[in-house]
């Protein structure tokens, strides 16, 4: 980590410093535009040299943890190795410089990759068809629930106004239901981490549009009664939505289609290892059962034979007149899809299953070792899937330290913290997902660090409370950030923009 203070790029700026390498050296003016539509004062963008910019952003980058530098066991986020070939091949000029509206004839290479990817995802999920267009998991969810709604609407079933969501679900699930005009009804989780089937039975009915289920759930376990749940909801006339953000543990092991699901979204930026880029981009393709196929979001890649050759083309409104429509100006996060495709080719059939094998092995090993080290698991009686939950409820009570304190202290030990305080139903929890790409040595080192922190907690809890110590900054004040809003640099002496 680069611990030296890095001023804002604006603080390097000096009026009149023009980086002419990137200007047009032209005298072009905008004489044809009337004055009233012209900008009066230029935007206060930074005026720095190329070297200043390179130096600034290189140094800033060094202030991040990332997979390329640290173990990053952020549960539900699948921070696995991002192979560099995925990036460099997706950035080949033929793909990179292609205009999205250029003709299909000039995009056969690109389209053939997407078609192959659709096939791969169909096989992985066991669904009938795949649309690659959603730009992240949440947009995939939106597409999925909108399709459920379109289906009910097409069947004149508009009294179905409720979406069922287990209480352990990711926040995007209820938020999506709302965006689709549904109300959310929460289903409790039973003591074993499975959906409470009795509670489910009690609430399904003619008002049920569907259920959004995450399996393996965000509790890190596989819901053993998934078939029962599917039946209960289907019998009530509701459809089944599968939140497939976390497929890492079931690739090649079990297919959502086989479990009776109607629609699933995947997070390629997790399972298919496309990089997270400090927040995005992602890709959230959806897979659908036969009955939802007519409602898929467009575009979708099709293949036909023309003049003895296979030709790839876009399916549009014409081909899918019942489609829920478009979700992006062009065709989703094209470059992310390419990266996922390259990853899938590198893994291949056998590699997919291996991902599930070793993601599961790593999670169960880490859970076992941490248990042996004296930590409490939320669901000690269960197998972990790709992740598992550790709860620090006891430590909170006995030593007064929180999951947050452990998280911050882990940074000092050179590990990114696991996901904290999610799922909301487990107190003081750490959701830990090691992924298959980490070695036993790394997992062992993590256990040692956790044990050492526990010792510190038992010794002098203040050490934890003050953590981190070795980062560029000490613990940051979130409350102040939200109270005294400062959301931009005050580039000019204008009245107070923030605060």
């Amino acid at each position: 980590m680069n611990n030296t203070h890095t001023p804002l790029i604006f603080e390097h700026s000096r009026p009149g410093r023009v980086n002419t390498t990137h200007t047009q050296r032209s005298t072009a003016t905008a004489h044809s535009i009337p004055g009233s539509l012209l900008r009066k004062t230029p935007p206060c963008l930074p005026e720095v040299s190329e070297m200043d910019a390179v130096r600034h952003y290189t140094r800033l980058s060094q202030k991040n943890f990332s997979i390329d530098t640290h173990f990053y066991p952020l549960g539900s986020c699948t921070m696995k190795h991002n192979p560099r070939a995925c990036n460099s091949l997706a950035m080949l000029p033929g793909f990179l410089r292609r205009h999205p509206l250029s003709s299909e004839q000039h995009g056969q290479g690109y389209l053939s990759c997407l078609w192959d990817l659709q096939e791969i995802l169909k096989d992985v999920t066991g669904m009938s068809a795949v649309s690659l267009t959603p730009m992240a998991g949440a947009q995939g969810e939106f597409a999925g629930v909108a399709m459920i709604r379109a289906y009910h609407d097409a069947n004149q079933n508009s009294e179905r106004t409720e979406i069922l969501v287990p209480d352990a679900a990711h926040g995007t699930n209820p938020a999506t239901a709302t965006m689709c005009g549904y109300t959310t009804r929460e289903i409790p989780t039973d003591g074993n981490g499975d959906v409470d089937v009795e509670a489910l039975r009690a609430v399904v009915g003619p008002q049920t549009a569907g259920i959004m289920l995450t399996n393996p759930s965000t509790l890190g376990v596989f819901d053993r009664r998934i078939k029962d749940i599917a039946e209960i909801v289907h019998d009530a006339g509701g459809l089944l939505y599968y939140d497939g953000a976390n497929l890492n543990a079931i690739l090649g092991k079990v297919k959502p289609g086989d479990m009776g699901f109607d629609v699933i979204h995947m997070n390629l930026h997790k399972t298919f290892s496309t990089p997270h880029g400090g927040g995005g981009p992602g890709a959230g393709p959806i897979g659908v059962s036969k009955r939802l196929q007519p409602f898929m979001p467009i575009p979708v890649v099709g293949k036909k034979n023309a003049a003895d050759k296979e030709v790839y083309y876009w399916l549009t409104e014409k081909d899918l007149p019942q489609s829920i429509g478009r979700l992006s100006a062009f065709m989703g996060n094209a470059g992310v899809l390419l990266r996922a495709y390259v990853y899938a080719l590198l893994l291949g059939r056998e590699g997919m299953t291996r991902v599930a094998d070793y993601a599961t092995l790593n999670a169960n090993y880490l859970m076992a070792r941490l248990s042996q080290a004296g930590f409490d698991m939320a669901l000690p009686q269960r197998r972990a899937t790709h992740e598992f939950i550790l709860t620090l409820k006891r430590q909170a009570r006995e030593q007064g330290v929180t999951a947050m304190d452990f998280a911050k202290r882990l940074l000092d030990y050179g590990f990114h913290a696991p996901t904290t305080y999610f799922p909301l139903i487990v107190p003081e929890c750490l959701l830990i997902e090691p992924t298959e790409s980490e070695s036993k040595e790394t997992l062992d080192a993590f256990v040692e660090a956790m044990a050492a922190i526990q010792q510190e907690a038992e010794g002098d809890a203040a050490t934890l409370k003050g953590a981190p110590y070795t980062m560029p900054l000490r613990r940051l004040d979130d409350v102040k950030a939200a109270r005294e809003l400062d959301l931009r640099y005050k580039t000019k002496p204008v009245s107070d923009i923030n605060g």
Binding site: P43, Y57, A175, G280, R354
Partner: protein, 452 residues
């Protein structure tokens, strides 16, 4: 094994620690009848060399004609440093900056990004990105409905000069919430919304969308439209091209009042390659008073235990992971890496570089229009001033012309006749700063030949 470091010995030792016989045992909670058979449609794994060769061959299939196509995605020069820095592992492979102390690189960069976008649009604040321009406009509509508490109608005025696909995307996304999108027609001479044609008493309108430049590249009369909308208690949502902001009045300065309320758009022109359509990024800015209705992540400046300046995700109570069904949006993963590229791009080009890019693109398009309109059978569709794109009417069907140009290695433009049949054989052309005088001549000569 690809991307899996376990030796056989490791695996054995780990299973022992777990107390399992085999890896397969770890899946024993999955009901047996659900266990998948195999992944037949997935090819066997290949090594990087073989995959690399395949992808090179496929990329080679996608030729790169001389392009005058814009229509929402623009070819601009991207300084080499932009992507060399953006793809540094520490930016590229980091997650959303949940642990602020270990993510100051990304967080500070995003704070800089927010500042730059607010500057470009002359708005108070910016968020840290949405998916793309079209979905950002949909979010802006939803935001306006939340923000305009005075309005009950959920009526949104949507000019027909807004990008046709944006209109479709907005419809897809907002239709479930009882929102009505009312199309506002455009003036056939100007290719813009004529403020004089707007009703004096329009009733309760929640918001009006104003594109600048609009889909035809034409400049709307943003001041009059803004004043009209705001005088009718409607919020104003600007959809703008960020490059154009260096040249034309930013939404924060539209009209006689405080400017637009919400501004969004497609960030792609700021250092993001065309890349077949994505990943790009949507941006969104707003007036300070609306900040709590803003969707998406927002970074704030704060201090650490020792009083040192640092950056964190803030106002998270708007977001799905806290507010769940009451969140401002369901968005979670956004387009962080692309805002990284945009921030570096804007730092490298600076205000003068961006202005020159805008001015040069504008003047190239002007020149192209002159050259093309000098050809028999080609005329301008509209007489409004434009930014870097403009509509032409041709004497022949556009699809025929485009195929003929294609054979000359030219991507001639966007066929308007499907979306706007009323315009006849109309085509949208764009010449950014990447085009030379010779390129423009080359196009003119080819079009002449094609139309002859």
């Amino acid at each position: 094994m690809p991307f899996i470091p376990h030796t056989e010995e490791d695996t054995r030792a780990m299973l022992d620690a777990i107390g399992a016989e085999s890896i397969d045992d770890l899946f024993d909670e999955i009901p047996a009848k659900l266990r998948a058979q195999s992944l037949d449609r997935i090819p066997m794994g290949r090594n990087e060399m073989a995959v690399s060769r395949l992808l090179h061959e496929r990329a080679a299939d996608d030729s790169q004609p001389l392009s005058f196509l814009g229509a929402g995605a623009y070819e601009h020069h991207i300084p080499a440093a932009v992507w060399e820095l953006t793809t540094r592992g520490e930016f590229y492979t980091a997650y959303t900056p949940y642990q602020a102390e270990a993510s100051q690189g990304t967080l500070q960069l995003l704070y800089e990004f927010q500042t730059m976008m607010a500057e470009l649009t002359a708005m108070d604040i910016s968020n840290a990105s949405l998916y793309d321009g079209a979905s950002a406009l949909a979010e802006a509509v939803l935001m306006a409905v939340r923000a305009n508490r005075k309005s009950k109608s959920r009526r949104i005025l949507m000019p027909a000069t807004v990008h046709p696909t944006y209109r479709k995307v907005v419809d897809t996304i907002v239709r479930h919430q009882g929102i009505q999108l009312e199309i506002v027609d455009f003036d056939m001479h100007g290719g813009h919304v004529d403020p004089d044609n707007l009703p004096a008493e329009p009733g309760d309108i929640t918001a009006m969308i104003i594109p600048q430049p609009n889909f035809f590249g034409a400049l709307e009369d943003v001041h009059a439209l803004t004043d009209w909308a705001q005088s009718n208690s409607a919020l104003v949502i600007g959809v703008v091209n960020p490059t154009a902001m260096a040249l034309i009045t930013p939404p924060g300065e539209w009209g006689n009042g405080n400017g637009a309320d919400i501004v969004c758009g497609e960030g792609q022109p700021l250092g993001v390659p065309l890349s077949s359509g994505g990943p790009y990024f949507g941006f969104m800015c707003c007036a300070k008073k609306h900040v709590r209705q803003m969707p998406g992540r927002i970074i704030g400046r704060t201090t650490d235990l020792e009083g040192k300046t640092g950056y964190v995700l803030t106002l998270q109570a708007r977001e799905q992971h806290i507010r769940r069904s009451k969140a401002t949006s369901n968005i979670c993963t956004n387009q962080g890496l692309l805002t990284t590229a945009a921030t570096i791009y804007l730092s490298l080009v600076g205000p003068e570089g961006l202005r020159q890019t805008a001015a040069h693109s504008h003047s190239n398009t002007q020149q192209l229009m002159e050259k093309l309109c000098a050809i028999d059978g080609v005329e301008k569709c509209f007489d409004r001033p434009s930014f870097h794109e403009a509509a032409l009417r041709l004497a022949k069907p556009v699809d025929e012309v485009l195929s003929a140009l294609d054979a000359e290695g030219i991507l001639g433009g966007y066929d308007l006749s499907t979306d706007y049949p009323q315009l006849g054989n109309a085509m949208l052309v764009c010449a950014t700063e990447t085009k030379t005088e010779a390129d423009l001549e080359h196009y003119a000569a080819a079009l002449q030949k094609v139309l002859a």
